[in-house]
Every structure is written in C-alpha cells, then in structure tokens.
C-alpha cells in the first residue's frame, strides 16, 4: 500500500460560463496507492466528476485547470499528466488510467461488434496480434462472468444494461491499467445486478491489482469498496480518512450530515436528518469555510477563515475548526450504528 501511483497536488479547475467562473474543484490534493480504492463521496455538484475527468484530461472545453499537478508513477518513473504531449496523452488514456463514465449507457459504438471495440482499443495501444487480443478479450469476458463466445460476437444492442456494464469493466482492464476510475458505475442498474458488478469488480481488483477511484452516492457501496474515503464539498476535499474511521468517527460536520441522511431499515424516521440549506453557489462561494451557512456548529471564525485540512489521527484529515463539537454530536448517532454492526456479527 505504500507505493503511490497517482499523486494529485493542489488541483483547481474552473468552468467558464456566461454567469461567471464556476470553481468546480479547488486545491484538491491526495494520493492513491497501488491496489488501493478511494471512494469520493459528496452531494451532486460537489466536483467529483470534474476531478476525475481532469485525471485523464477529458474535461469539456469550457473547463480550465488553474493550478496543480497530477503525478503518475509507473515502474518508478513519475510524470505530470498535465504536461503530457497530445500523443503521450493518447497513449496514457486507458493504458494507464481507464474510466467508466457516469451514466454512460451507450459506452459502446452501436455499429461495431464488441470484439471489434476490444480490438480497436488494443490496436490503439500497439497490440495488433489478433490471437493475443482475442485470448485476452475472452479471458476478461469470462472474468466478468459473461458468456465469452456470445458476447464476443455480439452487437451492443443485443446485450442488457448489466451485461454492457460488465463488458465495459472487462474493456477497462484490457490494457492492464494501474488506475480505474468508476463514476457511479452501478447507478442505472437494479440491486442484484449492482451486487454482481461489485463482486466482479472486487474479484478483478484482487487478480489484477489496479487502484480504483470510486465515485458513488451510495454510501454503503462506498464503504464496502473503499480503503479510504474522501468527502468533497463545494469542490474541496473536506475530509479524508480510512474507511472505518470515516464512517465511525467522522470529523467534519458535512460527512456527519451525509451519514445521518442515509436511511437505515432499523432506524426510526425522526432519526433521519437531512442537511439543511442548499448546495453552495460555486460562482460566488461563501467566505471562510464554504460549509458554514449550512453548519450547525458554525461560529464567527468559520465565517472569516477557511479551515486547513489537518491530520487529526494518523491518516485522518479534516478541514473544520470545530471537530471537537462534531465528535460530541456524533456519539449518539454512531453508537446506534455500532450496535447495529454488533447485531450482525
């Protein structure tokens, strides 16, 4: 877990719009170790997709990276993704870092067979031997538990949504990338298919040892998949911690709010709390801590000065002036969860 494959340093991204600059990602820093899974959580519009698109430089034309660097390491060699030439960038994509886009229901070209799209991908990265490509494709299709022969020759429209998503995962690891970004990979699928995809994903990761950036609104799924979790709010990482730490001892009021807003089967309705207020305006964000207008613990200090991301316990970072108050507030809520966990085991 020590060797880092990706290190993001002070990354800021804006969108130029008619109404002004949208600060979609601000000063984000974290690193991803080999074989590690980091889950990005945070409400809609918090900048998760923007951040992950930047990693493979697929941001829309309106976006601009205003600061930062993305260091990528393979075999001890480190390069800044942001300064790769167009040719190197093309080689980087999918070979080093594959991405499953959010809501990509039509990730496959409808007029080409699945095998052709695997072959295209391999050929684009210099693997042209048809026998090699075929063997690898069939092996991966089997790994994602599809009927390899049938899917190999199929057109996308002949497959269900779940099948396509699995085929896409297989395609994702075709070139043995070190990093796979999954932007809500299971959102459009039913709960059983979702389960199957997650199982397949875990199995693939065990076999191929790639790192994952996992974006999901489903906190239970994130908890299951991730080694570490990063909470994003208004384009910033406000908390970053190992998964158990994050879910049992959240330090940031926003993370706590997110956890509280998840309904549990054994929970009474009135224990469910939604975070008051609206997501912040990213064109003209609040002063100081961007979360302060919605925060029950906010003081004058929060108004005036943005809290830095501080390491409270080893590996547990949070950006909040009042982590002590959060700790006091979470105890009642978290006890409930720990009881629940004990029940299960």
């Amino acid at each position: 877990m020590s060797e880092s494959v990706l290190r993001i340093d002070d990354l800021s991204i804006v969108y130029r719009t008619a109404r002004g600059l949208v600060r979609a990602t601000s000063h984000v820093s974290f690193s991803l170790a080999k074989g590690e899974t980091i889950a990005l959580i945070g409400e809609s519009g918090s900048g998760k997709t923007t951040l992950s698109l930047a990693l493979i430089r697929m941001l829309p034309a309106a976006a601009q990276i205003t600061s930062g660097a993305i260091h990528y390491t393979r075999n001890g060699q480190t390069r800044n993704v942001l300064s790769l030439s167009p040719g190197d960038m093309r080689a980087f994509r999918w070979k080093e870092c594959a991405m499953v886009f959010q809501g990509a229901q039509n990730a496959f070209n409808p007029v080409l067979r699945i095998r052709q799209q695997f072959a295209d991908t391999a050929a684009a990265h210099g693997i042209k031997d048809p026998e090699v490509v075929k063997a690898r494709t069939l092996e991966l299709l089997r790994l994602v538990r599809l009927d390899p022969q049938r899917v190999y020759d199929a057109y996308p429209h002949e497959m269900s949504g779940g099948m396509k998503q699995r085929a896409l995962l297989a395609l994702g690891v075709l070139l043995d990338p070190q990093v796979v970004i999954l932007d809500e990979p299971t959102t459009a699928l039913d709960i059983l298919t979702q389960r199957a995809i997650i199982d397949v994903l875990n199995e693939m990761q065990k076999r191929l040892n790639f790192s994952i950036i996992f974006i999901s609104h489903d906190l239970a799924l994130a908890a299951e998949m991730a080694d570490r979790v990063a909470t994003m709010y208004a384009g910033e990482i406000v908390e970053l911690a190992p998964v158990a730490e994050m879910f049992y001892r959240p330090h940031h009021p926003y993370t706590l709010g997110l956890l509280r807003s998840v309904p549990k089967l054994d929970q009474r309705r009135d224990d469910l709390v939604s975070i008051p207020g609206d997501p912040p305006n990213l064109i003209d964000p609040p002063s100081g801590c961007k979360f302060h207008p919605r925060c029950q613990f906010a003081t004058d200090h929060c108004h005036q000065e943005a809290p830095p991301l501080v390491e409270y316990t080893p590996g547990h970072f949070a950006a909040c002036w009042h982590t002590d108050k959060v700790a006091a507030a979470r105890s009642g809520f978290i006890d409930l969860k720990e009881v629940k966990k004990d029940d299960r085991s």
Partner: protein, 364 residues
C-alpha cells in the same frame, strides 16, 4: 363476457382454419412479399391515375399535330386533319375506358406500346435511348454532391461555431433555398452569354454529334464536357442539404457517450472520425441518398430542357408538349418504379448499415 367469447371459441373449436389463417398471416408479414405487393399496387395506381390525368390535359396529339401542320405549311384545317388522321394510328375519339383496357392489357405483357407521334418507334426503345444519359448525369451529380456535402458537413461539425462553420452554413442555406433551375439560368446567362466562358450552342446534346460513340478518349471527353453544366447544377442544387444534414447529424453523434469513451480509450482521432463518428452520423444520409435516387428523373426535366441535354427528362418534356400519351406513360412508369425501388433500396441499405435494424443477419 360476451365480447370474450368469439376469439376463445375460434381458438379451441377450429384448429384447421386457424393454422391456415396463421399461415396467411405469416405470409402477410413476410417482408419481401409485402414490399412486392405494395410496389405492384403503387405502380398500378400511378399508371391508372396518370392515364386519365394526361388525357384530361387540354388538346391531344392529333390536335397538336394539326396545329403544327397549319402553322408550318399553311394548309386548311380540313387538309391538316386528313393528313393527321392518315399519319396516326391514334383515334382521339375512342372510348377512354376501352383505351385504358387495351393499354393495361399490353402493359401486363410488359409492352409499353408505340409512340403516338413518332409512328413505328416503340416507347421502350426511346426510354432505353434517353434514360442512360439522365442516370449518368444526375447520378454523377448526386454522387459528387453526396461525397462533397458529407465531407464538408463533417468538417463543419468538428469546427462548429467557428467562422468556417458559419460561412459554410450560410452558403449551404443559400444553396439549399434556391431551386436548381435558377442556378442553371444564372450559369447560362452569366458565364455563357455575358462572360462567354463557353459556347452555349456547342454544348447542346449529350455529346458532340460528329463523333461516333465508343470507348475512346475524345468521345468520353465530349460526354463529360456536355454533362458538366447539368451536373454542376445538380450539385449546386443539392449540396447544401447534404452539408447541413451531415453537420447536424455529426454534431449529435459527437455528443454520444461512445465517442467520449472512444477518446478515453486512447483511440487515434482518425479511427474515431471514421468508425465511431462518421459511420453513425452518416447512417441517415444513406437513407436520404437512396430516396433521392427515386427523384433522378423528376429532378432532371427542367435542367435538361434548359441545357438541351437529351436525356429522359427532356424527352418527357417533349412528350408532354406533343401530348404523346404512350411516351408520357412510359416515362411515368419508369419514374414510379424508380421511386418505389429507391424506397426499398433505402430500407435494405439501412438494415445493412445499422445492425440494430438488421433482421436475420448472418449473426450467431
């Protein structure tokens, strides 16, 4: 309950008739058969309609010829009438339904009959003589226009909202808004008459009539120079539509998930352009192209007349002016068949190009 009864009874108590009707239904569903039956009915309806319609036009072949004789040779109406009667086998006073019966009877034996005004010439021979020139010139125009328009449209989509795209969009709208015969007139008047870039008189016909047709360079060159202006007009008249259609189709395709995913997969831009964007964006173009093939003849009438290009369009024009009913009918039949055929072609082409509508393709 009462409404439910009949189907239940027929399903349980009459199995033999059910299988027969099921077979009939399957037959009716058979694609080829349906298309063929549709085609036959369409052709018959158009033939019948035009048969009566053209006979409702004022004048008839005999009257036209009588007028011609009286004007040309300064003879009296009676003399002209007698001459015309001896010249034509056609009797304008015969019962129209009897004529229709005779015509259909011959048509069923694939006989288009004889030209009324050029006695002794079979209509099928005239069609065979004029049709190839039209297919050649309009087909060439369509081909050039399609290739150019689709290419430019794709470029416009890639460079959307640039000054080049705006310029081409404006151009395409202008080209598309002006009917092609206006371009024909403009070319004739500006470049032929005013600027004298070419000799208007020298370009009459489909080739230089002093040459004997054959596969030699001079002849082929003559064919091309004679076809050049009509072809140019066909291109001008249709390219705007191809450009705009392809531009919009490509812009739509560029926004598709699979194009972004293809870029994320690191595919080279050329491969994305051809196999991912182009192939999908061009799908609807091929349907339009196939349908256009049906309008080859209809679109050629005025242009061929304007450039004195002796194709089937100008032949139709001449037949109409002479009220040569059988010749007209012959050409209308060809037009109908080509429209029907091109629609079938469009269907077939689309199902070949798009696996999603391919039925029973060689897959498995």
């Amino acid at each position: 309950m009462a409404t439910l009864n009949p189907p239940i009874r027929s399903a349980s108590s009459r199995p033999p008739s059910l299988t027969a009707s099921a077979r009939l239904r399957r037959l009716a569903r058979s694609y080829t058969l349906r298309v063929f039956a549709q085609a036959v009915v369409t052709v018959w309806a158009v033939i019948t309609f035009t048969f009566f319609l053209i006979r409702l036009m004022p004048g008839n072949p005999v009257d036209v010829y009588i007028d011609f004789l009286m004007n040309q040779q300064n003879i009296t109406y009676e003399e002209a009438r007698a001459r015309a009667a001896s010249q034509f086998k056609f009797d304008p006073d015969a019962n129209i339904f009897v004529q229709y019966g005779e015509y259909m009877g011959r048509l069923i034996q694939l006989d288009l009959g004889e030209s009324i005004t050029s006695t002794g010439t079979r209509v099928i021979e005239q069609i065979a003589r004029f049709l190839p020139w039209t297919v050649f010139s309009v087909g060439l125009g369509l081909f050039i226009s399609f290739i150019l328009g689709v290419t430019i449209g794709t470029i416009m989509a890639y460079l959307r909202n640039s000054w080049l795209d705006n310029l081409f969009s404006l151009l395409a709208s202008i080209l598309g808004a002006v009917p092609n015969y206006i371009w024909g007139l403009l070319i004739l008047i500006v470049f032929g008459v005013q600027l004298q870039w070419f000799q208007v008189g020298a370009l009459r016909g489909t080739y230089n009539s002093s040459l004997t047709p054959g596969f030699n360079l001079t002849f082929l060159l003559s064919v091309l120079t004679h076809a050049a202006l009509p072809v140019l007009v066909y291109v001008l008249g249709s390219i705007g539509r191809w450009m705009l259609n392809m531009r919009n189709s490509t812009i739509g395709t560029l926004g598709e998930d699979y194009v972004s995913v293809a870029r994320a997969r690191g595919l080279p831009p050329s491969r994305i352009l051809l196999a991912y964007v182009g192939r999908n964006a061009a799908l609807p173009m091929f349907t339009l192209l196939a349908i256009d093939i049906g309008f080859i003849i209809g679109g050629s009438v005025i242009i061929e007349e304007l450039f004195v290009y002796k194709g089937i369009g100008s032949f139709l024009f001449w037949s109409i002016s002479q009220r040569d009913y059988t010749s007209m009918q012959g050409v209308f039949l060809v037009i109908t068949i080509s429209v029907v055929f091109s629609n079938v072609l469009a269907d077939l082409l689309y199902s070949q190009l798009d696996p999603r509508v391919r039925v029973g393709g060689g897959e498995k």
